[in-house]
């Protein structure tokens, strides 16, 4: 050993001497400082010179493995604040904060194809708590130059604080902005829709033909049919017609040009024939542009094919605020049940959730994961519960039954009937366990002052609920002590004796419909495991929680499953408690303050029936009068954003027989909606969709059917903001902004909308389009460009609450230097400054320089908490029973929905059974690939290297029965046809269940060739094929390091069944939540 040491230091001296570096030239890290740098060529020359003598010395040494430095220099590619734009990721819907490091593109236009700069590297924003868990981020007041420089402590601390974490999708953004196959000029189709042949047109021509019609395509312009009528004017005349004071003919004469159908005035104005479907920025493009400027109710995000049923399950159990998500305060939780979601690699999102889960598990938190397959989260669990798909409610009821039977619930919590009684206990929320339901009355209403005819008595509001306390009927909110939990009694309702039952008694009755053993058997979980988990869950006071997402929700019984899972949280009363259920989402208000970005002067307020028949009670429409029960397709009184309903609705021609224009951005119906390419019949039909415009960075699977594909900027080239984070305790808002401009042609979606709106003469664009200052101040500001909107939002953020400081001269100069360098001529400082008031500008820069605004977020300081409570709270009613749901009806059967969750099997829309047929016995589940976030991320070969296709998971016994071995080519036969894939034989999935991720199988994005201007553009490379790895990567391994092409795998959505009980087909949906049931599918798998 001592010899080794001597040799090492001897060789170091030998190394030091030719380089002339002495000890004083060394930095704290033991490496020579840049003062001692020699150029690469010089280093080579030196090592060549030293070669003769060096070799002899080397051979004499007894440590032949350590050598004097050669081939080693001091170039580091060092960077600093001048090279960084702090922004927001877009590669899944988490929208993490990011640090985008840029580097100069090579000189000459050919060298970098018009890029103003190149993205060198993406990491996490050091200011943001979303990228720094479990460590405190850099304080918000820190100057960017300091925040973005390493502090010299890495060697000891193990990390440097100047860059944060970001997941693989975030890392891969470089290849999305610098995708060489991007569309850079507007494309107009050649031939029929779906011909895959295009011609380039100018922006002016494209916009003109969208507005005024395309002579070559024969598509009508929006101007040709668009018309608006105010709701109150139409309704006033409808009332006249109904009163016999106006003839139908006179009504038709007056409104025929404005309404879609004078026979159905409630359908609304023709402006509703404009439909916008988007994957992001819908507060602007949907809520403002489409709803208030175009005057159309038809604007949808992707919620219906994502979390909508879960959202409704949560919203209806959290009616005080309509809180949408079920999350846990991971940082203090002692027992976490992750139910049907994958927070370590997906959810919202891995960068925020995974490190905290890691640390919580290290601290000793018990982790239980409910999932039929072992994803990454389940692989870290103490207990894995591989539930039978679609039987989540059974499992929840099995647990709830044990908890109730053994009185393991928090009785004091459940007996508090209202805010006052809860406060007396120190509880921030309360439940409806003691509230009364009039079970024999129509719609099974909750007993309220209105029902009892006691409104106004002692100041009681209509909706004041009643409970029994000590056998007396009293108003829930007036009690400051416990109410009776189990009530089955008779009260006088408007002179009639009426049976009332407490919600808790109804719950017990519901749970008692089957035994624990029966529930457990249906869920496919051993009773002993159910009991163990239920006991563990109820052994940590408030510091236990279930968090859940798609798994239980995306079934045709998902609304009830999510409600049933929620009940577990309610039974222990964990809401708003440290370590319990978290509902926090404290923002710095982006839409109001300095500028009212939500209001449009002289707006066309959209009204009428949406094409998705969402948020509409069938019985209140003219269509009910016309058709009665059963309706041809379901109506959805509660949910919104049911984008998957558009195509089947048009196919059926029900309510809407056509759309005048469908605009789609950052969303692919084909890739995300049940049916996949089966949507093509409607998308290609110009009678059903007169004009189809898609904003895309390439020609994607849905853009393929468009009349015009308008090249979109990637998120790294534009502004953005998205509000979604009800799972974090810190106050923050992320803000996206351009970091580079990779190609000159593409424009932001909102910028194009503004131009179209201006050409159509719609309100909400140009001078005076944005109210300024306090409400009714009379002041306005302009909205003429994208900067106009986003920088006003930045001003709102900067001034929210206590305003941020002004950026000082150094920061202002840094801001300008960075953008002039990174954006080149795409940065117009004067235009940016003109978007806000002069005095606002330095504060706007302060926010932009930090990529958003972040409150103090130091776990060590207990930021985000007040004692044992989470600071930003739900503070409302946790509802086992929902009278709103109970009062609405299934439009096919006319039957009321159930106010309380039931553990019912999945069913079609008309209630008929949806079971596995003998020839397709395997339940098929799907999940998001950890390597993909949206359909756009397929363009990154780095990501495709880590996951080459969506292998079909199958357990060894099921594989053996079918003669399948790992990696075999297979045919997956579903109810509507079959898909080709490869099988991954694994112990990590429940027998009888198969599945794959849903993130592969695109045909667009140059997975296939494309013809533009007569030229055939080749598909993106398939590196596996080029390298002779013809069979692709072995499932479960990724050793080749080669990416497949963009089209590997299959579109899982195409396997999903159409609901045979409704006109027009379309996927099976939850009848209440409205979300598509993408986890209800039975298949057979055969060797291909």
């Amino acid at each position: 050993m001592s010899e080794h040491t001597e040799t090492t230091s001897a060789s170091r001296e030998a190394a030091a001497s030719p380089h002339g570096a002495d000890a004083s030239a060394r930095t704290a890290f033991g490496t020579p400082s840049r003062r001692a740098v020699v150029g690469a060529s010089a280093a080579v020359a030196l090592s060549a010179l030293a070669g003769g003598a060096g070799l002899g010395a080397y051979m004499a040494a007894n440590d032949p493995l350590t050598d004097a430095p050669h081939g080693r220099g001091q170039a580091s590619g060092a960077y600093g604040a001048d090279d960084v734009v702090l922004s927001m990721c877009n590669n899944c819907n988490t929208y993490c904060t990011i640090k985008v490091r840029v580097t100069d593109a090579a000189e000459g236009t050919d060298a970098a194809e018009g890029a103003t700069a190149l993205v060198r590297k993406i990491s996490g924003n050091p200011y943001s708590p979303l990228n720094s868990q479990p460590y405190a981020p850099v304080p918000y007041g820190t100057a960017p130059a300091d925040a973005l420089a390493p502090d010299g402590s890495m060697a000891v601390k193990g990390r440097a604080a100047n860059g944060g974490m970001i997941c693989l999708k975030g890392q891969a953004g470089i290849q999305l902005v610098h995708d060489a196959l991007r569309v850079t000029q507007p494309l107009r189709r050649v031939g029929e829709r779906g011909s895959d042949e295009w011609e380039t047109v100018s922006w002016d021509e494209a916009v003109d033909e969208i507005v005024n019609g395309s002579p070559s395509l024969g598509t009508p312009g929006v101007a040709a049919w668009w018309a608006y009528a105010p709701k109150k004017d139409v309704e006033a005349d409808v009332a006249l017609v109904e009163a016999g004071e106006m003839t139908k003919e006179a009504f038709a004469q007056k409104w025929g040009d404005k309404l879609i159908d004078v026979e159905h005035p409630d359908l609304g104005p023709k402006s509703n024939l404009f439909c916008s479907c988007g994957g992001d920025r819908m507060f602007l493009i949907g809520d403002r542009f489409t709803q208030k400027c175009f005057g159309s109710v038809n604007n949808f995000n992707h919620g219906g094919v994502c979390g909508m049923t879960g959202v409704m399950g949560n919203a209806r159990t959290h009616p005080t605020t309509g809180h949408k998500r079920m999350y846990a305060d991971i940082d203090h939780c002692e027992c976490l049940i992750i139910w049907g979601t994958e927070p370590m690699t997906a959810n919202k999102g891995p960068t925020w959730l995974a490190p905290r889960l890691s640390v919580a598990r290290e601290r000793g938190m018990k982790l239980i994961v409910v999932d039929p397959r072992q994803g990454r989260s389940a692989s870290k669990a103490d207990v894995w519960l591989p539930v039978v798909p679609g039987h989540d409610a059974d499992l929840a009821f099995a647990m709830a039954s044990w908890i109730v039977q053994n009185k393991r619930y928090d009785e004091a919590y459940l007996r508090a009937p209202g805010k006052k009684a809860a406060a007396a206990l120190g509880e921030p929320t309360w439940s409806d366990a003691t509230h009364l339901v009039a079970v024999d009355l129509p719609n099974r209403p909750v007993v309220t002052a209105k029902l009892l005819g006691r409104t106004g008595e002692g100041g009681l509001a209509d909706d004041a609920r009643f409970v029994f306390a000590g056998g007396e009927l009293v108003a829930a909110d007036e009690l400051d002590g416990p109410a009776d939990l189990e009530v089955d009694d008779v009260v006088d309702v408007k002179g009639k004796p009426t049976r009332v039952v407490s919600v808790f008694a109804l719950l017990k009755e519901r749970l008692d419909e089957r035994t624990i053993e029966e529930y457990a058997a249906a869920a496919g979980i051993d009773v002993a495991d159910v009991v163990d988990v239920a006991r563990e869950f109820t052994s940590h006071g408030k510091r236990a929680c279930v968090m859940s997402y798609r798994g239980p929700a995306m079934h045709a019984n998902g609304f009830d499953a999510v409600r049933a899972v929620s009940y577990l949280n309610f039974l222990i009363g964990n809401h708003d408690w440290k370590g319990g259920h978290i509902a926090a989402a404290a923002k710095f208000a982006p839409y109001t303050g300095r500028y009212d970005l939500q209001s449009v002067p002289n707006a066309h307020e959209g009204w009428g029936i949406p094409i998705t028949r969402q948020k509409t009670e069938y019985e209140k429409t003219s269509y009910f009068k016309q058709d009665g029960y059963p309706a041809p397709r379901p109506w959805y009184p509660l949910p919104g954003n049911l984008s998957h309903e558009i195509v089947p609705t048009l196919r059926a021609g029900y309510v809407y027989d056509h759309l005048g224009a469908l605009f789609i951005h950052r969303h692919s119906l084909v890739d995300s909606t049940p049916g996949g390419d089966r949507l093509a019949d409607v998308l290609c039909d110009t009678d059903k969709i007169n004009l189809l415009v898609s904003f895309d960075v390439e020609v994607g699977d849905t853009s393929r059917y468009a009349d015009f594909v308008l090249p979109d900027r990637t998120y790294l080239e534009r502004f953005s903001q998205e509000p979604i984070y009800p799972n974090q305790q810190y106050q923050l808002i992320q803000f996206g902004q351009p970091a580079v401009r990779a190609y000159e042609g593409p424009r932001s979606v909102e910028d194009v909308y503004l131009e179209i709106m201006e050409r159509l003469g719609l309100p909400g664009v140009g001078e005076g389009a944005v109210p300024k200052g306090k409400k009714d101040s009379g002041q306005t500001a302009s909205l003429s460009s994208e900067e106009d909107y986003w920088l006003k939002m930045a001003a709102n953020i900067a001034y929210a609450g206590e305003p941020v400081p002004d950026a000082d001269a150094e920061e202002l100069a840094l801001f300008e230097r960075v953008r002039a360098r990174a954006l080149g001529d795409a940065f117009d400082l004067d235009a940016w400054k003109a978007a806000v008031d002069e005095d606002e500008w330095p504060k706007v820069v302060y926010v932009l320089n930090r990529g958003g605004r972040f409150g103090s977020a130091d776990p060590a300081k207990d930021d985000g908490y007040e004692g044992d409570l989470i600071k930003t709270r739900y503070a409302g009613l946790c509802a086992f029973y929902d009278p709103k749901t109970a009062s609405t009806k299934n439009a096919l059967t006319g039957k009321n929905f159930d106010g309380m969750a039931a553990a019912a099997p999945v069913a079609y829309a008309d209630g008929s059974a949806f079971e596995a047929p003998a020839e397709r016995p395997l339940a098929f589940v799907n999940w998001k690939a950890r390597t993909n976030g949206t359909h756009r991320t397929i363009a990154s070969p780095w990501l495709r290297e880590t996951g080459t296709e969506n292998f079909v998971w199958m357990c060894p016994a099921d594989a053996a029965a079918r003669g399948l071995a790992n990696g075999d080519a297979v045919e997956v036969a579903g109810p509507m046809g079959s898909e080709s894939g490869h099988v991954r034989v694994t112990e990590g999935i429940r027998p009888g269940v198969v599945g794959c991720n849903f993130s592969f199988g695109q045909t667009g994005y140059r997975a296939r060739p494309l013809v533009v201007d007569g030229e055939v553009l080749a598909p993106a490379p398939d590196y596996l094929e080029e390298s002779g790895v013809l069979d692709g990567d072995v499932p479960g391994e990724q050793k080749s390091g080669y990416a497949g092409g963009r089209g590997r795998g299959f579109i899982m959505n195409e396997l999903l069944p159409d609901d045979p009980t409704v006109q027009g087909g379309g996927g099976v949906c939850d009848p209440v939540g409205g979300g598509s049931a993408q986890l209800d599918l039975f298949v057979e798998v055969r060797k291909a």
């Binding site: 890290f29 080579v44 493995l65 220099g73 891969a172 995974a354 890691s358 990724q1038 390091g1041």
Partner: protein, 215 residues
């Protein structure tokens, strides 16, 4: 053993925390801009047990930066050697691409750079070249820079110089990957490497990796 003036760079990967997401893999690709077919870091996966008592286990694998590196022993031209800071260096100017080292590495951490490129689907794909081992080798391309040589994880030597952790450690969303000076007993990695949970891959080979895992 080590001279106190020189750090011994080391990495600790906590397998109990690693979520197997491959963020390290992609961060490495983005930082080092390695060509198709070359991944300095991969995440290996294996299954243990049978359903339902089974677990899918993952293991990220960078270069182990061995103190006794078998790859170095077989290099006929001394292109690869162990630097005093513990980093096993490849001198691309000396490397003749014989691939003996690829065969010798018991960890599969080395791969051949055949000059492939992402240019078929990535704008300016070859313009960004990382100064590996601190040497700027100019624009990438066939017969230029590292073409025809063997490549492997450098511990992001160019980042360490600036006081930044390797890209894989910076980005690790499992909070599982740490970097620092093993020679400094006060460092986080030295303390973690001393944990009873610590082990190194194929310890029996005597390669003495500078990458520790926590089981």
């Amino acid at each position: 053993m080590e001279d106190s003036a020189s750090p011994h760079w080391g990495m600790v990967i906590d397998l109990a925390k690693c979520v197997g997401c491959d963020s390290c893999t992609v961060a490495c690709k983005a930082e080092n801009r390695t060509p198709p077919g070359v991944s300095y870091n991969v995440v290996l996966e294996q299954e243990a047990g049978t359903y339902p008592n089974m677990r899918i286990e993952v293991l990220p694998r960078p270069c182990m930066q061995c103190e006794n590196p078998p790859c170095v022993a077989v290099c006929p031209v001394q292109a690869t050697y162990r630097g005093e800071d513990g980093i096993v260096v490849i001198d691309a100017d000396r490397c003749i691409g014989c691939k003996y080292c690829i065969a010798a590495c018991p960890y599969g951490a080395r791969s051949a750079d055949e000059g492939e490129s992402y240019a078929g689907e990535m704008q300016a794909a070859d313009q960004v070249v990382v100064p590996e081992y601190g040497v700027d080798r100019g624009v990438r391309g066939k017969y230029r820079a590292t073409y025809g040589t063997v490549r492997k994880c450098t511990f992001c030597a160019h980042r360490i110089v600036e006081g930044e952790a390797p890209a894989c450690c910076e980005t690790c969303v499992g909070d599982a990957r740490y970097f620092g000076d093993l020679a400094d007993p006060a460092s986080k990695v030295a303390r973690m490497a001393a944990s009873p949970r610590a082990f190194r891959l194929k310890e029996e080979l005597g390669t003495q990796p500078s990458v520790y895992y926590l089981r």
